[in-house]
Amino acid sequence: MFRYLIRRLLQMVLTFFGATFIVYALMFANQTDPIQALAGERPITDSQRLALTERYHLDEPFLGQYWHYMKGLLTGDFGISLTNRKISEMMADAWPVTIRLALIAIVIVAIVAIVAGVISGIRRGGTFDNVTLVLTLVVLSMPIVVLAPLARLVFGIQLGWFPPTATRDAGFYELLLPALVLGSLVVATELRVTRSAVAENLRSDYVRTARAKGLTRQRVVGVHVLRNSLIPVVTLIGVDLGNLMSGAIVTEGVFNIPGVGFNLFRAIKTEDGPLVVGFVSVLVIVFLMVNLLVDLLYAALDPRIRYE
């Protein structure tokens, strides 16, 4: 187990460098004219172009730029963004609120998906199953760009249950509506996966055995079926936790939360290489950690799975 952990941590270091390299390469490939992108529709004078090109090393070849960046990164310096702000500062501003938002969302999603998934898995074809299916389809057929403003309009303005926008220091209540919207992105998959896993496990031999043994229905479902159904669900939750952090672009914009998704979106639009790579590096670390946790959970859920 210990050796397994060490190995995974070593892999992480390699993966981290691989990821920054790939993202930097992608940004470089995507670069048409970052100076114009930053200026929007304003014309740029030659001397301004010259000054900015040199300030941000934009005239150097790919490896040169990457080297500059990595040199800084290894000394703990994330560099400066093309907007002339320290990237470490921007990350310290953006990450906390996004992490809060994603955690609230994923907890809500996990509870809803597992509870509803188990119930509809047990009573397949029942009313509850069909209602959740229809609701799932509604959410699925409404892209987030439609759903998020609609939720803000209905719950934020017309009903007034929630504040229509949140801030960087938003608390649980302010983040609840954005978290619900964000969670709706992934709840469909998790719910249906739980349902199918539960349905599948209900038919298995050990359930028959357990029932034959005379165990109560609750115990059979609560302990045997659920535990055996959680592996794919936990996998999904792990993947989604990361997705919710980077994929909250629309939600963060709609609810005015200056978090990671919003910063990434802006940085990609303005071709701000160092900024994108900075955020993505941290994001990859998040994915690596979460997926390590998920892999360890497998072993906890199913004792037959062993890591050595």
Binding site: I22, L26, A29, L137, L140, V146, A188, V239, L288, I305
Partner: protein
């Protein structure tokens, strides 16, 4: 926990002409299943719509005039007109091709990649798993938007290209990670089952073990993930198109219709509702089809 019958499940796919093959049983089952028929009819309707939209008696989807903006339903346009004064019914019918093809093909691509990656990583474990899984982590970490813009722009740099294949490849190459991780987890869980150990002891090679014993018992979650992915891919195509890296020019698709109607939903809901209904019905059809077929092939249900 051993499940010897499952071993034969995969053979059904080959379709042997034994007197009572599993495929035959499954087909007998399906024929009696109402849900299967509903799903099959829906899928057929949408596939026909995608291939020959003209048979649905819709007008010209590109005949638009602002003077008809948000006009109500009429004999010519069953669902009324949208913000640009286009016939919503005609657009929904003609949009089926792009939406369904993009959805199906990109999901197929993502499914194939996810299947291979997940199965290999889960089955072999060790360094194979390490390399593949860390690869998945990196792809997961890539911001979808950045990767999509770069990919789609490279793929559709040719101006005569209408962006169709670029969208499919982009969605396929970026959408497989979840499916792969779910596949991997199911494989890890089922490769330790007793029947797999039994089959291994009987001398089955890795390929046979994977294809005949592990895969058939690991697809439940995988198929669910894919059917949902189908729906999201149809919608995501619109996002790409809206960013200027998706379908080119005056392409029509459900996703684009939904996105365009979204902001005006307070003045006119119909242009938003109908393409959403079409999209939801398509996904529903595939979800039901997937469920029905899986049930029919599952011997435990008999």
């Amino acid at each position: 926990m051993s499940d010897p019958q499952a071993v034969t499940t995969a053979e059904s796919a080959v379709g042997r002409d034994k007197p009572r093959s599993l495929a035959g049983d499954a087909w007998r089952d399906l024929r009696r299943n109402k849900i299967f028929w509903v799903a099959a009819v829906l899928v057929t309707v949408f596939v026909v719509m995608a291939i020959v939209p003209a048979v649905f008696g819709a007008g010209d989807p590109r005949d638009c005039a602002l003077s008809r903006q948000h006009d109500g339903p009429s004999g010519n346009a069953f669902f009324g007109y949208d913000f640009q004064g286009c016939d919503v019914y005609a657009k929904a019918v003609y949009g089926a091709r792009n939406s369904i093809l993009v959805g199906l093909l990109s999901t197929l691509l993502a499914g194939t990649i996810g299947l291979i990656m997940g199965l290999t990583a889960g089955y072999f474990g060790g360094w194979v798993d390490a390399v593949l899984s860390r690869g998945i982590d990196v792809v997961l970490g890539l911001p979808f938007l950045l990767a999509a813009i770069v990919l789609a722009r490279r793929l559709s740099s040719d101006p005569s290209n209408n962006g169709f294949w670029a969208v499919i490849v982009t969605l396929g190459f970026l959408g497989w990670t979840t499916a792969a991780r779910v596949m991997r987890s199911s494989v890890i869980a089922s490769k330790n089952q007793d029947y797999v150990a039994a089959a291994r002891m009987l001398g089955s090679g890795p390929a046979r073990l994977m294809m005949k014993h592990i895969l058939p018992n690991s697809t439940a979650a995988f198929i669910v993930v894919l059917t949902i992915l189908l729906g999201t891919n149809i919608a995501t195509e619109a996002t790409l198109t809206f960013l200027g890296v998706g379908l080119k020019g005056d392409a029509i698709s459900w996703g684009i219709m939904i996105n365009e109607a979204g902001p005006n939903v307070r003045t006119a809901a119909e242009p938003l509702v109908w393409p959403s209904v079409f999209l939801a019905l398509t996904v529903l059809a595939f979800i039901m089809l997937g469920d029905a077929v899986r049930d029919a092939f599952d011997p435990k249900l008999r």
